[in-house]
């Protein structure tokens, strides 16, 4: 068994490398992904090893990146597009929502677009505007797209490979504040890797269910550790797949705990948390001891860096919400 400790950036890089080795129709394309290796170095070294026909430094235009990826996919390629930052995906939004998401549907299943759109997302990096956003709900609201997000290096390594081999288009959100945090990755565990579209229990518990994804999973695990010190047991579920949304472990958990807190960085209204709350209410109405609590960003544009920590959910806000579930 080959277990390596690596950063999340390195895990995606290694996963991409393995995907490119496995299928010479896999391409990487985006702004600065070649010689520079991407602004976060996720694609570091790929152009050197796979050449500039497969690792393409594109012109600076996101609609062009996605639109040409559509054409490449129609020709039989599997493009992995990098959007440099979350807030820059919107020039490509029309191509993603109107073209990528619908091609399989509108062609009656004749045309497939196995495209991966990688988007570093989320805040807490002290950045200027448009560099810290969480636009996942826009995409999860769009039928035809799969939307997934990893929270740790091991998932990152496997999920990016699963996304590349998927025959549906996948929007792959990467928690950029966790990019340089390390974790163990078992490089040979292919047989035991869960499906791309599945949630999983990140930490078992008995008193309250906490559902989170991407950058907030670690925050919630820390909250669970803190709660344990106070004698309260949190079960943390890493949703991983936002579309389709796999609530199986959440529902199973809430039936035991009767309490649910949903946590995400994105703004609250009509976010993933709203959908989780609605579905858990449908499925677990008689098990719930308290209303589903949401811990999220506020319904404002992403704020300036000096106040972003007050905007973002953190350990204390998660525990505060846990307390609220016991107030009923």
């Amino acid at each position: 068994m080959s277990v390596e400790s690596m950063t999340l950036v390195k895990a995606i890089n290694s996963g991409l490398r393995r995907a490119m080795e496995g299928d010479d129709h896999v391409l990487v394309m985006g702004e600065d992904v070649g010689k520079l290796g991407g602004v976060f170095r996720v694609t570091d070294g790929l152009q050197k090893d796979f050449g500039d026909a497969r690792v393409i430094d594109t012109p600076l235009a996101e609609s062009g990146i996605i639109g040409t990826a559509v054409g490449l996919a129609l020709r039989g390629y599997r493009p992995v597009c990098e959007i440099q930052f979350d807030g820059f995906v919107f020039p490509g939004y029309d191509q993603i929502v109107s073209q990528v998401a619908k091609m399989h549907f509108r062609s009656g299943g004749r045309l497939r677009l196995p495209i991966v759109i990688r988007i570093p997302y989320g805040g807490s990096i002290g950045a200027v505007e448009h560099h810290s956003e969480s636009p996942e709900a826009y995409f999860a609201h769009t039928p035809g797209l799969k939307v997934v997000t990893c929270s740790n290096p091991a998932d990152a390594y496997w999920m990016i490979q699963q996304a590349v081999t998927a025959d549906d288009p996948v929007v792959f959100f990467e928690p950029k504040r966790r990019y340089y945090e390390k974790g163990d990755v078992d490089l040979d565990s292919a047989d035991s890797v869960p499906p791309l579209e599945s949630a999983r229990v990140a930490a078992p518990g008995t008193d309250v269910t906490v559902a989170a994804y991407g950058p907030m999973v670690k925050t919630c695990l820390e909250a669970a550790a803190a709660a344990a010190d106070e004698g309260r047991s949190l079960e943390v579920v890493d949703l991983r797949s936002l579309s389709p949304l796999d609530l199986t472990p959440v529902v199973e958990s809430v039936r035991r705990t009767g309490r649910l807190v949903v946590v995400h960085e994105a703004q609250r209204t009509l976010g993933i948390g709203a959908e989780v709350a609605a579905r858990v209410t449908e499925e677990c109405f008689y098990s719930l001891e308290a209303p589903v609590q949401r811990v999220t960003g506020y319904d404002t544009p992403y704020p300036s860096a000096r106040v972003e920590e007050e905007y973002l959910p953190d350990l204390d806000r998660v525990l505060d919400a846990v307390d609220r579930t016991f107030a009923f």
Partner: protein, 383 residues
Amino acid sequence: MTVETAAGPAGSAPPEPELVQLLTPEGQRVPHDRYDALIADVGPHDIREMYRDLVLARRIDSEAVALQRQGELGLWPSLLGQEAAQVGSARALRAHDHVFPTYREHGVALCRGVDPLRLLALFRGVDQGTWDTVGSRFHLYTIVIGAQTLHATGYAMGVQRDGAIGTGDPDRDTAVVAYFGDGATSQGDVNEAFIWASVTNAPVVFFCQNNQWAISEPLERQTRVPLYKRAGGFGFPGVRVDGNDVLACLAVSREALQRARDGEGPTLVEAFTYRMGAHTTSDDPTRYRLDAELEHWKLKDPIERVKAYMVRNDIADQAFFDDLTAQADELAERLRTQCRELPDPEPTSIFDHVYVEPTPQLVAQRDEMARYLDSFADQEVAR
């Protein structure tokens, strides 16, 4: 208001640029230093077949307009007036060249062997395009203006990566065509496609049918320079051709396509034509343009000039024209009948192809819909 050109103040506007024209509106074949050679092989048989395409394209179109008026189609975007641009460019294609159309390319579809019934099905609302895009090498209609130019460019980048250009093997070298209109040239996607194609030297031909109108907006709302001249700024050649001259469109397209196949990169072709009908059956052009303009363009009809040329040069006799009329009637009759017989889709079929494999949520929603619809089954029987 008179719109000045970018070149100078009012009164000093440069003359309209020359069109490549090989067949005058009166049906006179005029020589051209550059393009005569490109159609030197085109004989009487080819002329007759292109004339057949023109006539059938127009007949499909007029039949579709009639079907819409009878309530059989939800909408129809007429190609009336643009037959030569479409047939001329499409007949320049080889079998393995790939086409990315707008929603008005019915004449190109005809030339690519797509059954016009499939086009009617789309506008009837029974599907969203189900022809064989791989076999016909004719992609689905794209409704969002200009989006397909990026798809064409990406596809052409794939052709490059497959080594299917510049080999000199006519069965291997492949060109890609993006069709779009004058309105689309204002879209970001079209400009991005120009940039991508230019810097990657992609084997793509940008075939712009400048039909003078984007619904109600005339060309001067989109541009202050002739459209074909924009290519220069992006770093590849642009040419303006008489879009109502099927021979000129054939010649210019052949040149551009061969450049692409040879690995010499993109070309912008501006086919200068006219949308003689409404934008779609929902449009009313009397609100924004003068009859006189339409009358002027009727004199440049793309089909009449070919007929005049054929008659004058004994390329076809009356029997040919009679047979063609009968063929068009037969096609129209078949389309009329088959269009009306197109079955509505099963409601639950909407869940079938959202993803390659249906998600658990979609399976649940499909069951929910089926149960709901089944709940009316008793009432159906009672009636």
